[in-house]
């Protein structure tokens, strides 16, 4: 049944203003009083000639009663109800109709406020990212430091060298004067650049806090690495193959059985990553279409959660994680991290990665892992003194939304929303399953090697479509020649680089043909 547009209150108010009863209006338009009552309480959708008769009888324009405006308000309120920042109020989107019907002004005001909040949030995000990405600002800061260096060095000479010849002293004074003059000019330019407003700390969502926590730790957690080593040793004593050993370990140590279930019979709302841990019944259930790499990983993840809950708690007790939800999410992320460390032992993995020049395909087969698992383990090779190449990692879905981000220092990746359409993270969707590499140059001159490809989730049944998402590794161009992905590329030729940006809103390339929306960098 079509949802009734919330026009009932309008009809009722107008009817009463004209001194009409429900019965008399109903008669005039040729319906029963009880049917009019349903219309006035928004329990019946109304349109066509009946709506026209009601409008005529009440002396209203048809457009006033079409409900289009109200319907739009209801839709936008529905979107607002799903906003993560107000999820804790558990608003039922179904009540939007009643709000729009009874208090349209309040509904419009709420939407207007939410728009302002969203705009402010985007502006703050942009300003927070700005220092790294605005070439004008970077240039100004660079100039200030150069001027300051010259002034400081000259002043040190003037104050400490007593036997300076007059001519040389005059020259140094001239340097101080010219550099101070330049410094004032650059400072004024900086003030102008910042005059649009100041950055301030924005409130972060729990997911963003976990991102920050992982980035702050460079995705490397020494206590977990150590625990992973012990755990791996213990698990290996339970069987010959990793999957067999993990299954036996969970059964014998925690009385947990592992089952498979057909996706047709399973309650899919309980499944994540093809599996569901039913704590009450002590079972771990996999969907039939769970790939071997997922099985191995999820078995290890559960083993880690059950073996090291205190350790995960301790590591997740961090000042960057300010809410229970953020800490719970972080514990989940750390359990995955621990599982990866147990399955892909640091030294062996690093040795293989270096020997095979970070060939993800080769490592994936060697460790019976998924592409994404290998990429994330590569990111975590940050042990001081035994580091791999610093890699960043991103994952996106076909809508462009970035669902995982582990940036490396300096790589201008926006905190939220989509990235640059020219990244192979998006280009990969055009040639599924093929690895795409790109020498990318950002507006600030920094250059990175990007390696993107899609990852396919096979459908479980005929009626389900396969699902693709894309992953991308990024490394500074200075490290690129240590990887197979640099073979045959000429990094010295700057014109070979693809000019990219962080995303359109934060990109200063005014001549880019691929721009999807205006940049905010120079618009204010």
């Amino acid at each position: 049944m079509a949802v009734a547009a919330p026009i009932g209150m309008k009809v009722r108010t107008r009817r009463k203003a004209q001194g009409l009863t429900q019965k008399s209006l109903a008669q005039k338009v040729g319906i029963s009083a009880s049917y009019l009552n349903l219309i006035e309480s928004d329990r019946r959708a109304v349109g066509g000639s009946l709506l026209q008769r009601i409008a005529e009888q009440l002396g209203m324009e048809l457009a006033d009663l079409s409900g289009d405006q109200e319907r739009r308000l209801v839709e936008r309120l529905g979107e607002l109800a799903a906003d993560p920042s107000i999820l804790q109020h558990h608003i039922d989107p179904g009540t939007a109709n009643a709000l729009v019907s009874r208090h349209p002004d309040w509904a419009a005001a709420m939407l207007s406020l939410s728009r302002s909040v969203r705009d402010a949030d985007q502006q703050i995000t942009a300003l927070t990212d700005r220092l790294d990405q605005d070439p004008a600002l970077m240039e100004a800061v660079h100039q200030v430091l150069n001027n300051a260096a010259a002034v400081r060095s000259t002043m040190e000479i003037l104050s400490s060298v007593e036997d300076l010849p007059t001519e040389q002293r005059a020259r140094f004074v001239e340097i101080v004067l010219s550099q101070s003059g330049e410094l004032s000019g650059t400072a004024e330019r900086l003030v102008a650049l910042f005059s649009a407003g100041n950055t301030r700390n924005r409130s972060l969502s729990p997911a963003e806090e976990v991102d920050d926590f992982l980035i702050q730790n460079q995705s490397y957690f020494p206590p977990l690495e150590e625990a992973a080593r012990d755990l791996r040793r213990e698990i290996r004593s339970f069987g010959q193959t990793i999957e067999g050993a993990l299954t036996a370990f969970l059964q014998q140590q925690f009385d947990i059985s592992v089952y498979n279930r057909s996706p047709v019979e399973a309650d899919l709302s309980r499944f994540r990553n093809h599996c569901h841990h039913d704590e009450a019944n002590r079972v771990l259930i996999f969907l039939d279409n769970a790939p071997p790499s997922t099985r191995q990983f999820q078995l290890a993840r559960l083993a880690c959660q059950l073996t090291a809950p205190d350790l995960l708690d301790t590591v997740a007790r961090d000042e960057l994680l300010t809410s229970d939800e953020a800490r719970t999410r972080a514990r989940g992320a750390l359990a995955s991290w621990l599982a990866a460390a147990a399955l892909f032992p640091y030294e062996t993995f690093l040795e293989d990665a270096v020997r095979h020049r970070y060939d993800v395909e080769l490592l994936r087969q060697r460790f019976s892992a998924s592409v994404e698992q290998i990429c994330q383990r590569l990111v975590s090779l940050r042990k001081p003194g035994a580091e791999g190449i610093p890699f960043g990692f991103l994952r996106a879905d076909p809508s462009g939304h970035i669902s995982k981000r582990f940036p490396i220092a300096g790589l201008p990746v926006p905190r939220s929303g989509n990235g640059c359409p020219l990244w192979p993270l998006y280009g990969a969707f055009q040639t599924p399953d093929r690895v795409i590499r790109q020498l990318a140059e950002f507006p600030n001159g920094s250059r990175y090697l990007f390696i993107g490809r899609t990852v396919r989730h096979e459908p479980a049944l005929f009626h389900e479509a396969p699902f693709l998402h894309a992953v991308m590794l990024a490394c500074d161009v200075v490290h690129a020649d240590q990887t197979v992905y640099a073979d045959g590329l000429d990094f010295a030729a700057r014109h070979m680089a693809t000019p990219v940006g962080p995303n359109c809103r934060l990109c200063s390339r005014s001549d880019c043909l691929h721009r999807g929306e205006d940049s905010i960098l120079y618009s204010r």
């Binding site: 150069n146 300051a148 040190e156 340097i175 200075v478 010295a492």
Partner: protein, 135 residues
């Protein structure tokens, strides 16, 4: 202009920096410390000059035209004759990323602008005495 390295010999320093005032100041303080200096203003010239006559220490700015400081450092470390040349990286960008990248490429010391003259002299002389630096 009597002393230079700990062994008493005069040390030759190559300054690769594109800001003329900074070149003038670095030249002054290093020559006062007894060093012999020569200067180039871009990365390509730095590589050519090292090939022509290797200095005892290279004082290398990061943000150079043509080849940047990373490219120069990489070329030095990959060269057959000068792989062990001590390099002090000088930069207006004091970010952790720059330091890490420079370290991974085998820089010997890292000085950020604005620098103290004494710091520059100390670092340069300390490395000048080491000859072929360990990578």
């Amino acid at each position: 202009m009597t002393k230079s390295g700990a062994d008493g010999s005069v040390k030759r320093i190559l300054i690769a920096e594109d800001e003329p005032n900074i070149v003038e100041l670095l030249t002054f303080i290093l020559e006062r410390a007894g060093c012999l200096t020569r200067a180039v203003t871009d990365g390509e010239a730095a590589i050519a000059e090292i090939r022509r006559e290797a200095p005892d220490v290279l004082l290398l700015d990061l943000m150079l035209p043509k080849h940047d400081g990373y490219a120069v450092l990489k070329s030095v470390r990959a060269s057959a004759d000068n792989a062990g040349l001590p390099v002090v990286m000088l930069t207006a960008k004091g970010q952790e990323r720059d330091r890490k990248v420079a370290e991974s490429l085998g820089v010997n010391a890292f000085i950020t602008k604005p620098f103290s003259n004494q710091d520059v002299v100390d670092q340069v002389l300390a490395l000048a005495g080491t000859g072929a630096a360990a990578r």
